[in-house]
Amino acid sequence: MWTLGSTVFVGLAVSAVVAGVTRAHWATEPVSNRAAFDPVETTLMGVYLGGALLVGILGILVVSSEYGTGTIRATLAAAPRRPMVLAAKVIVFGTVTLVVAEVTAFAGFLLGQALLTSPARHATLSSPGALRAVVGIGLFLCVVGLLALGIAVVVRHSAGAISTYVFVMLVLPIIVSGLPNSLQHPIERLLPLSIGSVMINNSVPDAFGPWTGFLILCSYTAVILALSTVLLVRRDA
């Protein structure tokens, strides 16, 4: 519950802070920066980055705390049909995360826009790409959370799962950015971090469209969840 609450809080707080600071400094920003400024992207940054991290940790803890406390044995004794147990976790966690993420995305967006009073540019939900960015980032967070949940079933260990998740989300992009451009661009656009960036209107070179990227992310999650189902069934409790 704490993690959920902090997801919402961080998303809103970053949105407010970034928007507020941008507005405050608007007059002093060089013209080229002002032109490149995207109000949609700015206000959703916090939701996207903070949310991805917190939602991932929540998804991991939902599973790994059972392994840590040994509750998994009580759960599997009460419900020996293991695919059902995993499906139940996916459904409950997925639904809660989707709702919270969407609420946070909308609230963060609206709050940020409200703070971007003139002369700073602001957007509304009917601005081109705005609604898609807000709805899409909520969906993104839900799927990324399920990806983390799947990782936790495979790794079974809180610290290990969180490390893996952080590596995939944050460290891998850094490594890839060190590659020469010809290699970097094709790989980078496949990374979850880039997919989320595109969703909130950030520009990534040679990137897929926002919904194409989202489908790619969904396929990663589907593969991990399939793997985790197999492992859950075949391994000892």
């Binding site: 705390s65 406390t69 509750t71 009580a74 599997l76 009460a78 020996p80 000892d236």
Partner: protein, 308 residues
């Protein structure tokens, strides 16, 4: 009824359970004994479908655990008392289990009352002492009113009053026709609670017999003798072919001849007897005898060589 058929479990190159077969019948309390590391918990986990055997299978009431429609209503188990989410209150844990198996909510209150946890029911499970956790685990096992009960060290952490309560509970459950399978280290307690025992060592089957028969067959039976002229009596008995050993409390443990013969020898030599009692071997003695060669972990007690 529980049936183990050629259960085998290996972890890497260590064989934890080795071709183990036995049957646990309903209506009696069956004890499961073995030294530390002999594979008792592993066997119980295989019966519960938590770990998979490398060979063989475990059958409960005619089915493998995975095929049970409402597992908690057929098999109740206490395997690990602390395997509860620490943030959850006790009643919430039981409620969760009840709902997964279609057990009515009123039953949760019933089992809480049965184990005496009414005052602690709304506390978080993480704050429970070991004894309280054990009681909660027993409550969880009883939740579905199952016909098969499996307990791994249920009296661990209970005070003497609690131990007695558990013993009476187990005997009552067995008398209701249920199958009760209990593992324990406490030999003396097991002797009082169980009707039959299954002894394993290093994952292998060693013996299965009613407790009474087991203690009477052991070679550890002896006659306890006290006399003011113990040395003379001892010499006479030794020359008569008996094996004698001086006990810590000053009595003499005599093996190899019966009470009547000892009495006759004493009378013949004109020696006074203050005690002449047939000692049944304790379950501990039988157990030690059987498992001495099968100890997985053994320290040196430093007292070997004191017994002559």
């Amino acid at each position: 009824m529980i049936e183990a058929q050629h259960l085998t479990k290996r972890y890497g190159d260590r064989t934890a359970v080795d071709d183990l077969s036995f049957t646990v019948r309903p209506g009696i309390v069956t004890g499961f004994l073995g030294p530390n590391g002999s594979g008792k918990s592993t066997t119980m986990r295989m019966i519960m479908g938590l770990d998979y055997p490398n060979a063989g299978r475990a059958i409960v009431n005619g089915h493998s655990y995975h095929d049970l429609r409402w597992p908690l209503r057929e098999v109740g188990a206490l395997l690990e008392a602390k395997a509860i989410h620490p943030g959850r209150p006790a009643w919430a844990h039981l409620m969760m289990l009840a709902e997964t198996n279609g057990i009515p909510r009123g039953r949760v209150d019933e089992v809480i009352a049965m184990v005496g946890l009414e005052s602690a029911a709304s506390q978080r499970a993480g704050k429970f002492s070991l004894g309280m956790s054990q009681r909660l685990g027993i409550a969880a096992a009883l939740l579905g009113d199952p016909s098969v009960l499996i307990f791994d060290e249920p009296v661990n952490g209970l005070d003497p009053d609690g131990i007695r309560w558990a013993r009476l509970l187990l005997r009552r459950l067995a008398s209701e026709g249920r199958t009760v399978f209990v593992s324990s280290h406490l030999m003396s307690e097991m002797a009082l609670t169980a009707d039959e025992v299954i002894i394993i060592g290093r994952g292998r089957f060693l013996a299965q017999q009613p407790v009474a028969e087991m203690t009477s067959r052991s070679t550890a039976r002896f006659v306890r003798v006290r006399s003011p002229q113990l040395d003379l009596l001892r010499a006479a008995l030794d020359s008569g072919g008996a094996q004698t050993a001086l006990e810590d409390d000053g009595s003499l443990a005599v093996r190899g001849i019966d009470r009547a013969a000892i009495g006759d020898i004493a009378a013949r030599e004109g020696l006074v007897l203050h005690e002449l009692a047939s000692e049944k071997a304790s379950l501990e003695d039988v157990f030690m005898e059987l498992t001495n060669k099968e100890l997985e972990y053994s320290g040196s007690s430093g007292t070997e060589g004191n017994r002559q």
